[in-house]
Amino acid sequence: MKANGGWKWSHLYLIAVFVVLYAPILYLVVYSFNSGGTMHGYDGFTLEWYGEVFSDTRLLIIVLNTFVVALFSSLLSTILGIVGAIAIHRVRRQRTKSALLSLNNVLIVNPDVVIGASFLILFTMIGLKLGFGSVLISHVAFSVPIVVLMILPKLQEMNPSLVDAAKDLGANGWDVLTKVILPYIKSGVFAGFFMALTYSLDDFAVTFFVTGNGFSTLSVEIYSRARQGVALNINALSTLLFLFTILLVVGYYLITRRNGRIQEAGARL
């Protein structure tokens, strides 16, 4: 009986946490249909703001930019991450291995602002023009370590004699990679790709530093619009993005569930 009472209270607490977690998002969604033009006082239903989003060419180009950067950067960082994970895995000396891992994790724990500032210096020094290229390179750079961390545990649980057997049977390095290793670490690769995708879509601070004039991603654009105050087309846009996020989440969930460990979303070593 006592346990029963505790059960109720705990659910109340959880529900309260969930309400607070979802309140801001629902608030944005609800007011995206407000004809009043402000985020208070609901005047009536309208789809005007959605129309405005779809007729705002600048905004649409920025959305497109954001997705192009996200897709390319996660693709490239996944490839580099696979290479990195295999490289670390093959190092035999324990000290070299942990040194490499520490270096790998620097960009994960480094504050975003520091990454952004240091990349800005780097690009200026080598004379790279700020814009699409610098943003893409930065996103690849900061996504690689998380991909490595997602793939490494998979490599570690792989039986090394699989690779030896393939080699004994005459497989060359490329065959071993594509026919033995990649199929085995597939779930880690997908998880890494999705993490890289969310990192890229979500990044603000680093992009803000290296974006220059002329090129912009959604986060940076929302920031500059939000500083000017409330505009309900941002709400409409966020509703659309939220729906897209849900799609991503479902995709990620299906992949990790097959993997059996959703907590890997939290990326642990």
């Binding site: 270096l103 975003d112 990349f119 998380i146 979500d202």
Partner: protein, 267 residues
């Protein structure tokens, strides 16, 4: 044969490390010794140890501590209760979903929620507490930051609670421990690693927040992150900005060494 294939994978990865891990940090250190005209100087460091920056550092640490503390206090019980529910994987996913919504959009939502005529003030008025200035206060800054960082605190704790062997809890109960004693003497010590990782994952980024300070705290709160952004993108004093960045990198390294070893990802 083996050595050859190993080198093949190591080379591109090492190139990445050199270009994007080592070089940026070295460049930051280099710039911290340069003045605006491009000459060598120690002036940035002596400037950093004046009262303006020391105050800023202290207040950054204070806010980061507050944010970490409240995230832990809210996330720990949530996670604990979460692991007790039937469909914990689904609940966990539901908690993670909001963290996948663009950070900027969530901050923007709070501009509406906390505004003078926003929902929060409507609720306050409805229960008879009257309208208040919520936006642009310390409260709103800490609240929004905690809101954004909660998932980063929650996931490592969830992982450590999942690893906890339930028979230990049964044993504690069989030996006559009260619920509180079990939590204090068994569960907390065994999940301390998760707590450490969570605190680390929240504390370091909250030291250097600058977007939330600008949007939610309206420049009332100036953290080290805000100062770096200011120096790099507004006043163009890269030397001073780099000096603060060097300080943050050192703090980060100390925290990592102090809490020891393994890390988690996600920002």
């Amino acid at each position: 044969m083996r050595t050859k294939s190993r080198n093949f994978y190591l080379a591109p990865y090492l190139l990445w490390i050199v270009l994007f891990v080592a070089a940026p940090i070295l460049l930051i250190v280099y710039y911290s010794f340069r003045d605006i005209e491009g000459g060598w100087t120690l002036g940035n460091y002596s400037h950093f140890f004046t009262s303006v920056y020391l105050k800023m550092t202290v207040s950054s640490f204070w806010y980061a501590l507050l944010i970490t503390f409240f995230s832990l206090v809210i996330a720990y019980p949530t996670t604990y209760l979460l692991t007790k529910t039937k469909h914990k994987q689904l609940w966990l996913l539901l908690i993670i979903v909001p963290s996948w919504v663009n950070l900027l959009l969530k901050a923007y939502a709070f501009i509406g929620l906390f505004g003078t005529y926003g929902l929060t003030n409507e609720l306050l008025e409805a229960v008879g507490l009257g309208r208040h200035q919520i936006l642009f206060t310390d409260f709103s800054f800490v609240f929004v930051s905690v809101y954004i960082f909660i998932p980063f605190m929650l996931l490592p704790i969830y992982n450590s609670l999942e690893e906890l062997n339930p028979s230990l809890l049964h044993a504690a109960r069989d030996l006559g421990a009260s619920a509180w004693t079990t939590i204090r003497r068994v569960i907390l010590p065994l999940t301390i690693d998760g707590i450490k990782s969570g605190c680390q994952a929240v504390f370091i980024p909250s030291l250097s927040l600058f977007m939330i300070t600008r949007l939610i705290a309206g420049n009332r709160v100036i953290t080290l992150g805000t100062a770096i952004e200011q120096h790099f993108l507004v006043t163009q004093d890269w030397g001073m900005g780099a000096t603060i960045a060097v300080f943050l990198v050192i703090v980060m390294a100390i925290i990592m060494l102090a809490t020891g070893g393994k890390r988690r990802g996600a920002r």
